[in-house]
Symmetry: C2
Subunit: 207 residues, 2 copies
């Protein structure tokens, strides 16, 4: 009678991967804070208690999710930057790759910029800080290179520009979240980046 797939018994490692995948999915749908272990269990046809065979704490699940995101995002960004002809081109390619990555995984910004940031849990908070500030440092470094090659204004504050870069992505994601589809995100991204770029580039006379 039961047409169900025979319930396979998975190793802890496999289950952990599945839990991470499901947690990301659910976080995209209904927000990080409202995802319960019961939700995860339902989504993977498991009992709620079984989750705790593979993670001793719910927070540990989010930590694992963050590690997963960090690895994937950094891989994408590094690959994008490796094809660049100069530092500014690298930033543009990273920006584009980031937007594409977000379009494929709408949960990521929602996770990175969620209330998890403000939780006391030092491990999780520290991890998010590490990801974001590491990203900022990477952008700031590229901007310093650009300055040394006279591609960017030499009185540019690279760190502040990196803050603006991150904010630009945040703003785009939020607007896309408010006004709908993915097409909007990609299209808006293409229009916003030149403004940022112009803010970075060398100016001709001092003001």
């Amino acid at each position: 009678m039961s047409q169900e797939t025979i319930k396979r018994r998975l190793s802890t490692e496999e289950r952990q991967s599945e839990i991470i995948r499901v947690a990301v999915e659910l976080a995209a749908e209904k927000g990080v804070d409202s995802v319960t272990t019961q939700d995860m269990a339902d989504a993977m046809q498991l009992t709620q208690g079984a989750i705790f065979r593979h993670f001793s704490t719910k927070d540990d699940i989010w930590v694992a999710v963050m590690l997963w995101i960090r690895d994937r995002l950094m891989k994408v960004l590094d690959k994008a930057a490796s094809n660049a002809s100069d530092p500014l081109d690298a930033i543009e390619r990273m920006f584009s790759a980031h937007i594409t990555f977000i379009s494929k995984h709408p949960a990521i910004p929602r996770l990175l910029f969620s209330e998890l940031l403000h939780k006391k849990n030092s491990k999780l908070r520290q991890l998010i800080q590490e990801i974001i500030s590491g990203y900022e440092a990477k952008i700031a470094g590229l901007l310093e290179s650009a300055k040394s090659q006279s591609l960017a204004s030499d009185d540019l504050d690279s760190k502040s520009a990196a803050v603006l870069y991150i904010g630009m992505i945040q703003g785009l994601v939020m607007q896309a979240s408010i006004f709908g589809g993915k097409r909007t995100l990609q299209q808006e991204a293409e229009k916003v980046f030149p403004i940022f770029l112009h803010g970075i580039k060398t100016r001709n006379h001092h003001g």
Copy 2:
């Protein structure tokens, strides 16, 4: 024995104001989603059930909070803009006023950019959208004026620049939230804005 202040009974209107104030305070401390009506009651020396004498629903409290924010923020921004000499000066004054406002009320961005945005509750969601898109429209309008006065590049996409403007504030707030104090927010804001401004302004040769 009891050295407590004699418990005054406040009118519904007064209590509503106090509930809003307390809700904003608590949201700043521990995040919107984790603020319970019990927390509010404790913070104002009241029983939890008494809250529902003045608001029929918890969501109604957040709606009232959003209306409060909208009124206060718009008043501050309008006042700042009224003293401006030109459109770009108006944007700079609004930016500065906004940062100051946030420094005084750290809960505001956390509320505006919270998961409340993604809730089904159409009233609340619609209100937040209204605030943000109204703000963007105001900035975009000023930028159009700036273009007509040749203060800004005439091929500037005003709407996209407004998105960048909002993102800039978001990014600053987030960085301040990550790395601590208010001093950082104000100081970073002063360094980031010129980059945005340079991105807006008229360029000398076309690329």
